[in-house]
Amino acid sequence: MAETHSLQDLGQQAAVAAKVFIQRDYTNGTVCQFQTKFPSELETRIDKTQFEETVRTLNNLYAEAEKLGGQSYLEGCLACLTAYTVFLCMETHYEKVLKKIAKYIQEQNDKIYAPRGLLLTDPIERGLRVIEVTLFEDRSLGR
């Protein structure tokens, strides 16, 4: 029971107890950042610092995707010169980072969240509006 549970097992055996939504943080404008405030529903399930670390890493990854820098300008100018047809053939920087984010979330789910009966949903599946944390019934409490 202490070993890592696969998501499949969780899905088959556990029922969803609740869902917590981490909303976006707009204090820096429209860049994609999520609030690092620790939701009270997760207090019994996971360490505050652990969770905040996850959200902070996600925020950093999104900031990297949306960063205005040399590379993005180069990409933008090249795209403009080709009437944006390069977007049809090339994977944009943003998409590359999104793949990184998906991998990171998968990894976090496998290592940290699944054993605690939690599941993080990739924000891109929710339109980058929220991080959905699904709480599964805690079987250790007995039912």
């Binding site: 869902k19 204090t27 404008g29 047809t85 929710r126 980058l128």
Partner: protein
């Protein structure tokens, strides 16, 4: 009893398991399940809830009404084809071969960017899932007061030390992110909403603004180029002075050429001013990192009564603003229209086929709040908007809405004032005269020319400071907001 419990358990699993599991389904669904696996798995665009049209298996997205896109394409094609057939041979002979080359390059650029603007996702925000919607409702109710007044559906955030109000969208069931607006023509919330353009038949938002800007700039160049070439052609012909002795055939040929050239001249003459004006206006918007929406509403140029508001999204540097808007990273499409539906999404889609019915199905809410929410939805969203709305006769427009060159949303003024929550008012700028119903190029272009002048005036006044013209729109909006805040339901449009 056991049967009941079993059924409930299965139901929960089917709806909420994140990973698709082969959960046992009731006997009646077996047939459906087989049917599902037998037929192709559906893609997300097939159950998309907005009023959009999809082509090529979800690769192309357009607004439901294509507006005057065929006219736009037709005019561009006609003018360019006439140019290549009738003007280029003469000019290549008399001037240089670069002319058709430059013309050709500009033409290709214009058509590609037009197609991209029209057929790409402008930055649509997918609607909130039922769980999300319920969570937001709970937060609103917790934050609201306990009197009979409905809880406030706005949230205030501080963005770069500037207070910004986030409004709740009843259709999409979420608080709209900053700079997002709900387009009622497309029935979607669009990020960094600029306006809904009938000329391209799509909304202009975060993802396709750069395509739109490139389109209007390159179209200005193309129109000006053709105009110049045509004028040169006519001037050279007049200078040629072949005398009055012509062979009949040659005369007819020359007459036809001159006629087509004259047609091009007329089209270009009327277009060049409006398109140039529009390009200039959007260049100003890009340099100050504003949207048409915000400019019309005067969000950052100081509403009367509020202290001087500054644009919190601007980087305070024209060059950086331009780069961030035009050369920034390309955001991904959030609606994932070609993705396949998962099992629970199929179930949700099947359960709610009338996505636009506005029936709010929220779990576990007090009945009083249910009624409040329900009545709000009915009064503020008016689901049965007449389809002919874009062609509605123009109501007396405010000077604001008239500002702007071609290509704004058509005839939306009548419904606008009574629906503050929708925020589509700004998209009405310049729309009233530019209805698709306006027949004839000359008429449209004549109006466009008149509007161009107002654009310049508007743009200049915007640069100087808050103009009198802009005050009209916020005042209009505020009165309806006041009515709403007073607790009485807004009048049905």
């Amino acid at each position: 009893m056991m049967k009941n419990c079993e059924y409930q358990q299965i139901d929960l699993e089917a709806l909420s398991t994140p990973a698709p599991t082969p959960s046992p389904q009731p006997v009646t669904d077996n047939g459906k399940e087989e049917e599902k696996t037998a037929k192709k798995q559906r893609r997300k665009w097939e159950v998309f809830q907005g009023k959009n049209r999809f082509c090529c298996d979800g690769r192309i997205i357009m607004a439901r009404q294509s507006g005057v896109l065929p006219l736009t394409l037709g005019l561009i094609l006609l003018t360019s084809v006439l140019f290549f057939i009738f003007d280029c041979p003469f000019l290549v002979q008399h001037l240089t071969v670069c002319i058709p080359v430059i013309g050709g390059a500009l033409f290709v650029f214009v058509v590609i960017t037009l197609v991209q603007t029209s057929f790409s996702d402008p930055g649509i925000l997918p609607r909130a899932t039922p769980d999300e919607a319920a969570d937001v409702e709970k937060q609103i109710d917790d934050a609201g007061n306990t009197t009979y007044r409905p809880p406030p559906r706005t949230r205030e955030v501080l963005i770069n030390q500037q207070a910004v109000k986030l409004k709740y969208c009843f259709t999409c069931k979420m608080f709209r992110p900053p700079r997002t607006s709900h387009c009622s023509l497309c029935d979607n919330c669009v990020e960094r909403f600029d306006h809904h353009c009938p000329w391209v038949g799509n909304c202009v938002g975060k993802r396709n603004y750069r395509f739109f800007y490139t389109f209007i700039v390159s179209l200005s160049f193309l129109t000006a180029f053709i105009f110049g070439c045509v004028t040169t052609h006519l001037a050279l012909r007049a200078q040629d002075g072949k005398g009055l002795v012509f062979a009949l055939q040659e005369m007819l040929c020359v007459a036809l050429t001159c006629l087509c050239t004259a047609v091009e001249l007329v089209i270009c003459f009327f277009s060049v001013w409006s398109i140039l004006g529009l390009s200039g206006f959007h260049t100003y918007l890009v340099a100050s990192n504003l949207t048409t929406n915000e400019d019309i509403k005067g969000s950052w140029t100081g509403k009367s009564g509020a202290e001087a508001a500054t644009n919190p999204y601007s980087h305070r540097n024209i060059f950086v603003n331009c780069c961030s808007v035009l050369c920034g990273p390309m955001p991904p499409s959030l609606i994932d229209r070609r993705g396949f539906l998962s099992a629970e999404e199929e179930a949700a889609a099947a359960a709610a086929p009338q996505a636009t019915s506005r029936e709010v199905e929220l779990p576990v809410l007090a009945s009083k709040k249910d009624i409040n929410v329900g009545s709000k939805c009915v009064s503020e969203e008016s689901p049965a908007r007449p389809a002919s709305r874009p062609r509605a006769p123009p109501t007396p427009p405010t000077a604001d809405r008239r500002r702007g060159g071609g290509g704004e949303r058509a005839g939306h003024s009548s419904a606008v004032n009574s629906d503050p929550a929708r925020d589509h008012r700004p998209a009405g700028r310049g729309a009233l005269r530019h209805t698709p119903a306006a027949a004839g190029d000359a008429h449209t272009h004549h109006n466009a020319k008149a509007h161009h002048k107002r654009t310049h005036r508007g743009a200049r006044s915007a640069l100087d400071g808050p103009g009198g013209t802009r005050a009209a729109s916020p005042v209009v909006g505020r009165s309806s907001k006041d009515r709403r805040n007073a607790g009485s339901p807004p009048p049905l449009p």
